[in-house]
Amino acid sequence: MKKNHVKIFPLGDNALTLSFGNEISPELNKKVLKLANFIEQNPFKGFIETVPAYSSLSIFYDVFRVRNEFSDFETAFEAVKTFVENSLKNSGKINKKKSRLIEIPVNFEKEFALDLEFVASENDLSPEKVIEIFTSKTYRVYLLGFLPGFAYMGELDAQIATPRKNSPRKKVPKGSVGIAGRQTGIYSLESPGGWQIIGKTATELFTPEDENPTFLQAGDLIRFTEK
C-alpha cells in the first residue's frame, strides 16, 4: 500500500472503510479523528456509526435508507463514498479537538508485572530501567478496540519494544498494562490475551454507567506514573 494514499473500499455490504495508509502515525490518526468528528456532526441520512482506527475510518450505514434517500446512485456504497469524499474536503476547515492529557498510575510490583522480567531480559535492561523508559514518554491513544474501553497506545521506545507472547494467557487480570511490539494497552476487563504484562492500574477504563462508557477516547494523551 502506498503511503498517504487515500483509499475507500466496502467493508461488507453496509459499511465502508476509508484508509489514509497502512501505518501507525499520529498524523494519519489525527486525520482519521478529524474526519470522524466531522461526519458525526454532519451525518447523512441512513448514517449509523463510525469506527476510527489507527489510520482508517469505517462508516456503517443503513443500506435501505441510503438507497431510498440517494436514489440517483447505483449503490448505497457509491452514495456514501461520495459523501465521505466531500466530507474529507470540508473537514479540513473545522478546528481540531484539543487532546486531553491523562495520568494513569501503575503498580509495577512483581505480583502484577507478570512479564516485566522477561521484557527486561529480552532487551538487556534491568526491570527498573524498563519502568523508567516506559514512564518517561507520553503516549497517544490511537483507537479503542479488542475489549470495551481497551486503548491501543503508542509508540513505545524501541529499547523496550517486545513481541507478543507465543501462546496467549487464558486470563489476563483486569487493569493489566501490556506491551505488544511498540504498542501499549490496558486490559479493561479480565480477558484472554497475549500482550507482555508489565504492571497493573486501578483506573477503571470501562465505565458502563456513563454515557461515554469508556474512560479513554481516541486522541487522548497518556502518561503512566509509578504508583
Binding site: 467493508l11 461488507g12 435501505f64 438507497r67 478496540g145
Partner: protein
C-alpha cells in the same frame, strides 16, 4: 407476570437487534445471531421489531408461565412443546397460566428465538437489551439464564385465536449445507489464483470451537501472494478473515470491533441468518456476487418486510 426457568439450557440469553453506536468505544454490538428471525416474530406479535427476545441454544431451556401470554418462536426448530402439544415456529400461540414450554429435539438449526407479546421487562443498557457476556452486562444481569431464574414480562394474553403467521417468502432459506453469498473484501485481490479457486469452489466445515464470537472454518488452506502486515481497523459481523495458518474465521454477533487479519470476503447481510443457524460440522460453500446484487437483496427483503409489517398491524389490532 413472569417465566420461571425450570431448566437453564446450555446458553440462553436476552438479545435484540444489537447495541448500535458504541463500536468506537471497543464495544461490540452483540444482539441476536439470526436477526431476521427476531424481526419476523416480533412483527408477527405486533411488537417493535427490536423488542428483547430469548436466544436459545440446544440443549434448551424449559420455561413455566405463571401468567397467560401470547408467544411466538422462530429460527431453529428444537421440537417445541407447550406441555405435551407440539407447536410450530412463525405462528402466535396462546399459553395458559401454569403451562410449560420445552424443547425436545434438535430438528434443524442452532438458535431458536422466543418472543412474547408486549415484551419482556428488561432494563436497557446503552439503548439495547442485548447481553454482553464478555463484559457481563446488559440483558438479564449480563449473563445466560440459570435454573430458577425468573424473567418478567409486560402483558397478559387478551386473545386466544390467531389465523395469521409469517409468510414463507420472508423466512430465511435455512439449510445444513448452504451456499452462502459473499462479496470481496479489501484483501481478496491478494489471494493466489489457486486460493481464489479453492475459496469459490470447495466446501468448508464449521469447526468445533465456533461460537457467538466467530465461526472457524476448516478446509484446504488459502494463501496470499504476499505476506501482508495490516494495522488494526474495523471489522463487522460477517467479515471473513484469513488466519496465519491459512484457515478462515467468520466474525459473528459478538465479534471484536477491530482486527488486523486480512479481510478476504464478507457474507452478504441477507445470508447472515442462514449462516447463524449453522453449527459445528455443518458444511458451507461460497458464491461470489457483486456489491450491487448484495444491496439489492437487502432492498428486496426490506420491502417485503415492510409489506408484512403493514399487514400484521391491521391483524394484531383487530
Amino acid at each position: 407476570m413472569s417465566l420461571i426457568f425450570q431448566k437453564s439450557g446450555i446458553l440462553t440469553t436476552v438479545q435484540d437487534l444489537g447495541r448500535k453506536g458504541f463500536k468506537r468505544f471497543g464495544l461490540n454490538p452483540n444482539g441476536a445471531m439470526d436477526k431476521t428471525a427476531v424481526r419476523l416474530i416480533n412483527i408477527l406479535l405486533g411488537n417493535d421489531e427490536n423488542e428483547a427476545v430469548l436466544e436459545i441454544h440446544f440443549p434448551a431451556s424449559a420455561l413455566e408461565f405463571n401468567e397467560s401470554a401470547i408467544i411466538a418462536l422462530g429460527g431453529a426448530d428444537f421440537g417445541a412443546k407447550i406441555d405435551r402439544n407440539q407447536i410450530e415456529n412463525w405462528r402466535p400461540f396462546f399459553v395458559e397460566k401454569g403451562q410449560i414450554l420445552s424443547f425436545s429435539t434438535k430438528v434443524r438449526g442452532n438458535r431458536a428465538y422466543l418472543t412474547i407479546k408486549g415484551g419482556f421487562e428488561i432494563e436497557k443498557w446503552l439503548g439495547s437489551s442485548s447481553t454482553n457476556l464478555q463484559a457481563q452486562i446488559g440483558g438479564f444481569n449480563g449473563r445466560s439464564f440459570e435454573k430458577c431464574d425468573e424473567i418478567l414480562f409486560n402483558e397478559k394474553a387478551k386473545t386466544q385465536n390467531f389465523d395469521y403467521f409469517v409468510s414463507d417468502n420472508l423466512i430465511p432459506k435455512y439449510k445444513t449445507s448452504p451456499t452462502i453469498k459473499i462479496i470481496v473484501g479489501a484483501e481478496f485481490e491478494f489471494l493466489t489464483g489457486l486460493s481464489e479457486e479453492i475459496l469459490l469452489n470447495e466446501e468448508f466445515t464449521i469447526a468445533n470451537d465456533s461460537n457467538r464470537m466467530g465461526f472457524r472454518l476448516s478446509g484446504k488452506p488459502l494463501y496470499l501472494l504476499d505476506n501482508i502486515e495490516l494495522v488494526s481497523s474495523a471489522v463487522d459481523f460477517g467479515t471473513i478473515q484469513l488466519l496465519p495458518d491459512g484457515q478462515m474465521i467468520i466474525l459473528m454477533a459478538d465479534h471484536q470491533t477491530t482486527g488486523g487479519y486480512p479481510r478476504i470476503a464478507h457474507i452478504i447481510s441477507t445470508n447472515l441468518p442462514i449462516l447463524a443457524q449453522l453449527g459445528a460440522n455443518d458444511k458451507i460453500k461460497f458464491e461470489l456476487i457483486s456489491l450491487k446484487e448484495a444491496e439489492d437483496f437487502t432492498l428486496k427483503f426490506e420491502k417485503d418486510l415492510n409489506f408484512f409489517k403493514l399487514g400484521t398491524r391491521t391483524l394484531v389490532r383487530r
